[in-house]
Subunit: 221 residues, 2 copies
C-alpha cells in the first residue's frame, strides 16, 4: 500500500512530533520526508521546500497533492477527514478546552524556544549557549505553571489532558515535555503534566513518534 | 438585554482584538471587562484574573459561567455555538487553510512581539527601546513575507484571506497589521496583505473592534 500522506518533518521538531503522534493515533500510514533544519544552513530555506511551505518551517503534510501547514491545523484536518479515533471531543466547550490547552503550548511556549528564535537571539543579542538555556527554561516554566493549574484544577482532566483518551492537547503536551527535559527544566512543580506525559509515553503511537525513533535521528543520540 | 458573554481584554491586545472582531462579525452583544496590562505591574497578574486564566494573559471569554481562553479557541467556540455567519469555511481543506493562516500569525508572529516577551528581552538581554523595535519588525517581517506568498499565490484568496467573506484568518491578520504599523514596519512588499487589511477596515465589525474604539483606550491616543 502506497501511503497518500507525506509528512515533511525533522526528528527533533516539536511541531512535526505533534503531527507524527496524531498520524499514529489514527493508525495512518505515511511517508516520512526529512528536512534537515541545521545542515547547510537549513534545508527548509531551499527553493524546493519553500515552494511547499513559504514559512520555511516544518511540518508540512501533503495529502493527495494538497499541501497543509501548521501542526494544529494539520491535526484538525486529519480529524475532520479521518475521524476515528477522534482527537477532539464532540462538545463545543470540550473542543474549546482541548484547543486552548494545545494553543497554550503551540502559541505561547514552543514558538519562543524554536530554533530560528534561538538563532536570532544570537544574531541580535549575542546570546551565548547558557543564555539560550535560561531563555528556553523561562518560557517553558511560565507555560507549564499555567498548564499545570489548568489541568490539575479541572474535573475534565482524566488519564490524559481531556478525559481518558489522548487528544490534540496530549499531542502538544508530550513534545513540549520532551523539550523541557532536553533543556533540563526541573519538572517537580508539574505533577499532573508528568503523570499525563507518562500515560502518553506508555502508548505505542507516542513511542513511535519520538524524535529518537525517526529515520533522520543521529545514530549516536 | 443583558449579554451572556463577557470579554476580558485590553484595548491594545492583539489577541483580544481578534475576538472582538469575531464577536462583532457575528453580531453578538458582549460586556467588555478591561484588564490593564501595564498599570500597577499588570492587572492580569492579580489573583482575581489568575483564577479566570492561569496564563495571566488576555483575552478570556466567559459564556454563561464557563471560561474560555486562547483567542483562536474562543473564535472556533463562537463559530460552533453561534454558527451564523460562519468564520470558517465548510470544507476540510478550506478550514485547514484558514486555520494555517490564522496560526501563522497567532503562533509564529504575534507571541514573539507580545508585551511579556519584550519585557523579558529587557530583563535578560537589557534590550533598549530601539532593540525592541528591531526585534518586533524582524518577526512581523518574517511572518508577513510568508503570509504574502501564501495569500498571493493561492486562488482561494478573494476579497478576504479565504474567499469574499471575512474569516478567522482576517480576524488574525488585521490586528497584526495594526501592530506592524505601530512598529513602523514598511508594508510595501506586502500588497495582498495591505489590500485585505483595507477590505477589513471598511467593515463596521472591524472598525468597532479597533483598539482606539475601546472604552479603556487612553483619550489622547
Amino acid at each position: 500500500m502506497t501511503p497518500d500522506l507525506v509528512l515533511y518533518g525533522y526528528w527533533r521538531s516539536s511541531a512535526a512530533y505533534r503531527v507524527r503522534i496524531a498520524l499514529n493515533l489514527k493508525g495512518l500510514a505515511y511517508e516520512s520526508q526529512p528536512v534537515h533544519l541545521v545542515r547547510d544552513g537549513g534545508e527548509q530555506h531551499g527553493a524546493d521546500y519553500r515552494a511547499l511551505n513559504p514559512q520555511e518551517l516544518v511540518p508540512c503534510l501533503v495529502d493527495g497533492g494538497q499541501v497543509f501547514t501548521q501542526s494544529m491545523a494539520i491535526i484538525e484536518y486529519l480529524d475532520e477527514t479521518r475521524p476515528t479515533p477522534p482527537l477532539l471531543p464532540a462538545d463545543p466547550a470540550g473542543r474549546a478546552r482541548v484547543r486552548a490547552l494545545s494553543q497554550l503550548v503551540a502559541c505561547d511556549v514552543h514558538p519562543l524556544g524554536n530554533l530560528r528564535v534561538l538563532q536570532h537571539l544570537v544574531t541580535q543579542f549575542h546570546a551565548e549557549d547558557a543564555a539560550k538555556g535560561v531563555w528556553s527554561r523561562h518560557w517553558i516554566g511560565e507555560g507549564f505553571r499555567a498548564l499545570e493549574a489548568m489541568l490539575a484544577g479541572n474535573v475534565a482532566t482524566g488519564r490524559f489532558c481531556h478525559g481518558d483518551t489522548p487528544s490534540m492537547a496530549d499531542a502538544c503536551l508530550a513534545p513540549q515535555v520532551y523539550n523541557a527535559v532536553r533543556w533540563k527544566l526541573p519538572l517537580d512543580d508539574f505533577p499532573t503534566i508528568q503523570r499525563i506525559y507518562a500515560a502518553c509515553q506508555a502508548l505505542e503511537a507516542f513511542q513511535q513518534a519520538a524524535p529518537e525513533a525517526q529515520s533522520d535521528a543521529p545514530a549516536a543520540s
